[in-house]
């Protein structure tokens, strides 16, 4: 197992945003977390990536306990993520936005910067190469020199994925990668996620677009009110009564 959560719980005051969730992610697969709005999906991501401390429970990465590690160290281990709202720097080019993504694999510091040492020059070149490499993967080579303020929503999503890839992750968590983009673009993004997975990257995504998820995911977990109500293959999930109930409300016959 690449990632395992055990009894993971997060309470905000009286509200259990994530309640006792056991979930495991196998290496090399595409996993999805679905659920109605407010089901605790993003909170679950935040717990794994170190943005929130869980109230109780543990997160294991390759068997190592990472529950209490700060977010930047978790990124260093090879766990990367994107955010629901892409927070890129508008006043700068696509390339400049992505270059800093490889920063965590470099060592040069302030002194290197002031003296402009060989190490800095070498590492700057490495970051630039890495950025061009990941922009090529997400299909944005042509747009590298454009300002982020001038690119489309879909290109921004791709830039955010490129930034996450620049950290050289083993697993990438995508928080609603297809939100706010049209069906054609969603198709393109699905292809990209498949391609990333085929190159050996483990993927875990939150998504509301059921059609996309059912096509893409190997394994799905369904959250409702912070609790895991179902888990399995797309086919199993589609026929699961509890899931239908959670989505449509009332009785399953609806």
């Amino acid at each position: 197992m690449l990632i395992e959560t055990k009894n993971l719980t997060k309470r905000f005051g009286g509200l259990a945003a994530v309640n006792n969730v056991d979930f495991s992610i196998e290496k090399g697969r595409i996993n999805a977390i679905i659920g109605p709005n407010g089901a605790g999906k993003s909170t679950f991501f935040n717990l794994i990536s170190g943005f929130h401390r869980p109230t109780s429970g543990t997160v294991l990465f390759k068997g190592i306990d990472i529950t209490k590690l700060p977010a930047n160290e978790i990124a260093g281990l090879g766990i990367s993520r994107t955010f629901q709202t892409t927070s890129l720097f508008d006043q700068s080019t696509v390339l400049d936005n992505v270059i800093v993504g490889h920063r965590l694999r470099t060592k040069s510091n302030l002194v290197d910067a002031i003296l402009r040492t060989k190490r800095l020059k070498r590492e700057e070149a490495a970051c630039r190469d890495k950025a061009m490499e990941v922009l090529d993967i997400v299909g944005l080579t042509e747009s590298a020199d454009r300002m982020v303020s001038n690119i489309s929503q879909e290109e921004k999503k791709r830039t955010a994925i490129a930034l996450a890839l620049a950290t050289e992750p083993e697993i990438i968590f995508l928080d609603e990668p297809a939100a706010g983009i049209n069906p054609d673009e969603t198709e393109g993004l699905t292809e990209l996620i498949k391609k990333l997975n085929q190159s050996g990257l483990t993927v875990c995504l939150i998504e509301h677009k059921m059609h996309m998820i059912m096509n893409l995911a190997d394994h799905i977990m369904v959250l409702n009110y912070g609790e895991k109500i179902a888990e399995g293959t797309p086919k199993e999930i589609r026929g699961n009564e509890a899931v239908i109930k959670a989505y449509l409300g009332g009785s399953a016959s609806a």
Partner: protein, 331 residues
């Protein structure tokens, strides 16, 4: 071959700056320029933290005063050699900056601004009230001019001008190198979004603290140079009035730009000297000017210039693309 390149422009500016004492026969202008260079060094310090790392500090007049008083006390009361005192003054400022940064950087955005405003005021109060050490409102008198380096003396207006100019150029060079390096990119990533910066593996606290300490170093250096240039210091140099002057220089020149601090400081110091006859009514001009700039040019004069250049370049690029497109269709 283009003659009007950026590089040649900068070389011309530096040559002009070095020949200025020969052009200006009047010591008054030299004095004014030296003083604005000193302020500019402090503004560069604020810019590193507020412009590039995204933490608006209002304590930097305090750090300026710490640098000035450290140099003043070490040379006047401890009779230390000037150059040794200058280094010590910078180190003392950094040490205090480190301790304050440890606490201040736990806050963010306007809370950070308010917290540092309080810190700045406390520094001012300590200097004002601790008469045993700082002489309080009487101020420190008789601070020596910079000591000789071999045959070079610093007793004329021109020599002091050169000394400060060299420090300023060094500060600008350091800033230039930082913001174009991976370290600078790291700071800007923190400014952009601290959450995202953490996600891509950046230790935000460590980087913020480094930027904070370095920015207090610049403020302390400026303060120390100020003390040896004016030769007299009072608690007022740490007052909030000075802080807001510095902030105004930064905002008008361009926050988060490399040339902004120098442009803003020179422009406003010269303007304010030429409007002396208006006395306090000068603010009637500065107030609206600042408001207009913040509304229409949030990155100041330098930022507006960069944006204009960028737009022109973009237009040229899309023009070239358009032509290629037409040619491709024709072919």
């Amino acid at each position: 071959m283009r003659i009007l390149t950026k590089r040649n422009g900068i070389i011309a500016l530096i040559i002009f700056a070095f020949s200025f004492p020969y052009i200006a026969q009047n010591d008054y202008y030299l004095h004014m320029l030296t003083l604005s260079f000193i302020w500019a060094i402090a503004v560069y310090g604020i810019n590193l933290l507020s412009g590039y790392t995204g933490y608006l500090s209002l304590a930097h007049a305090g750090f300026f005063a710490i640098g000035a008083y450290s140099l003043g006390l070490l040379t006047v009361k401890a009779e230390m050699n000037f150059w040794l005192a200058l280094i010590c003054a910078c180190l003392i400022t950094c040490a205090i900056g480190f301790l304050i940064g440890l606490i201040a950087l736990r806050t963010k955005e306007h809370f950070f601004a308010i917290y540092t405003l309080c810190v700045g005021y406390i520094i001012y109060l300590v200097i004002d009230k601790w008469e045993g050490l700082t002489e309080g409102v009487r101020g420190l008198i008789g601070i020596p001019a910079p000591g000789n380096i071999g045959p070079i003396t610093f007793d004329t207006a021109a020599s002091q001008y050169y000394l400060v100019l060299i420090f300023l150029l060094a500060v600008i060079l350091i800033m230039y190198r930082i913001i174009r390096s991976l370290t600078g990119r790291t700071y800007m990533a923190i400014r952009n979004s601290e959450d995202l910066a953490q996600t891509i593996g950046i230790s935000t606290m460590k980087n913020k603290l480094t930027a904070f300490v370095l920015s207090t170093f610049f403020a302390g250096l400026a303060g120390a140079l100020y003390a040896s240039f004016i030769r007299f210091i009072g608690p007022d140099i740490g007052s909030t009035a000075i802080m807001f002057d510095l902030l105004m220089y930064l905002l008008v020149g361009g926050i988060g730009t490399l040339s902004g601090p120098l442009v803003g400081t020179l422009l406003l110091v010269i303007l304010s000297q030429n409007l002396q006859f208006l006395q306090e009514y000068r603010m009637l001009i500065f107030g609206p000017l600042l408001t207009v700039i913040i509304i229409f040019y949030p990155r100041g004069i330098a930022g507006a210039f960069y944006d204009w250049q960028r737009k022109r370049k973009d237009n040229e690029l899309s023009g070239v693309r358009g032509e290629l497109h037409i040619k491709a269709e024709e072919g």
